[in-house]
Amino acid sequence: MKKVLESMEYVDSEFINEAENYSPKKKNHWWIKYFSAVACLCLIVGLAFAVSKTKSSVNSLSVQAAELGKEEYQFGVALPVILYADDTYVIFYDFRGIYTYSFSKESLEGYVDFRKLKMDRIQGDNPTFVNVSQNGKYVFFYNNSQNYVYDVVKNEYMDASYYEEIEKDIYYISTIGFGEDLSISDGQRTYIGADGSYLAVELDLENLSEDDCPRYKNMYILRKTDDIFQKYYVFE
């Protein structure tokens, strides 16, 4: 029986030295572990909160925009102006922000709130200028001190550090026929060319109240397809 233990005499010298000289890694003090765990937890909670807040803010933007119609919001001095339109959606803006309306979903899909960015001036001193890219996927809005790009597809905006690089792709609305005014008009059709195709879209109002103050809830998009006009109520 003793030979089994004796066989250990034949283990390599390096193992013998190794076991003799082995020094374990210093264990962290409990409080280091504790604070590390707490710090990690805080970081995770913080990140989760930030992510959820970002998501909720994107959602709440749409809700806010939709609520414009419910809360008797009146238009300001400048009425909404169409920026871009094609078969799938129309983009327009006013001093409150930029709006993207989807024809297929028949709902407001995106909204950039200018008030949150303190860019809610589109006239007067330091106005906010708005341009859209040729493909209708990006909207650039800026004033003297702020530059942003609104990604229509992602429905989010970011600092527009690359604004100048794609400025050449700015989409200039072409109108044919009646009037140059792209804002809400009375009976005038705005024909907008996008990718070589032309369609008729305009913003219009109906059912104005007795005080004759146009409100968001009164607005609709009138779209002409195959000689048929269809109304889309944006803020319902």
């Binding site: 029986m1 003793k2 030979k3 089994v4 233990l5 004796e6 066989s7 250990m8 005499e9 034949y10 283990v11 390599d12 010298s13 390096e14 193992f15 013998i16 030295n17 190794e18 076991a19 003799e20 082995y22 374990p24 890694k25 210093k26 264990k27």
Partner: protein
């Protein structure tokens, strides 16, 4: 003094070799022996016997690169022998139980002594130890070479006793599988 210089003194039959060995490794050898015998006086005797044995073995051995391991093997052997011979130490049971613990690795061997050559078994264990992690290897060597208790290993490695027990248990089981593959399953 470097190990190779000490060994050179042995080879030249210079008695200063013993002095330098004692100076450099005396305390550690005594500690190893004490770990096995748990008797201070016996560990002193084992230490001295180790010097004598080293004197006799060098030459022909020339452990220039592994002097400490060489001395450790000797002091371990002498210490285990002392435990077996000196009933008063009451350490035989500990040695036997450790031996049985390790023997379980060679399942089915009722009379291992007769059937297995210790050297070839040692070499097989060596090969196995090459493939296990450092921590596991250290635990295994501390337990079955230095014959440390579980609590001593736990203190030395700054881990819990249960972890030591569990790890050693697993290493033993894996060793058993390995030895079976190597043809040691009898």
């Amino acid at each position: 003094m470097e190990d190779n210089e000490i060994v050179q003194l042995y080879l030249e039959r210079d008695e200063n070799a013993l002095k330098w060995t004692s100076e450099k490794y005396g305390a550690r050898l005594r500690n190893i022996s004490y770990g096995i015998t748990k008797d201070y006086q016996t560990s002193k005797e084992c230490e001295n016997d180790t010097y004598l044995e080293a004197w006799n073995r060098i030459p022909p051995n020339e452990p220039k690169d592994y002097l400490f391991a060489f001395l450790t093997r000797i002091v371990r052997h002498i210490s285990i022998d002392s435990c077996r011979k000196k009933c008063a130490l009451k350490r035989e049971h500990y040695i036997v139980s450790l031996s049985e613990e390790l023997e379980n690795c060679i399942h089915g061997a009722n009379d291992v002594e007769e059937m297995i050559d210790a050297k070839s078994l040692g070499e097989a264990i060596n090969r196995y130890l090459h493939v296990v992690s450092l921590e596991k290897r250290v635990m295994f060597i501390r337990r079955y070479f230095y014959l440390d208790s579980i609590s001593d290993i736990a203190k030395r490695m700054n881990i819990s006793e249960s972890k030591v027990k569990t790890t050693i248990f697993r290493v033993r089981n894996n060793l058993r599988v390995y030895l079976e593959k190597e043809g040691f399953a009898l």
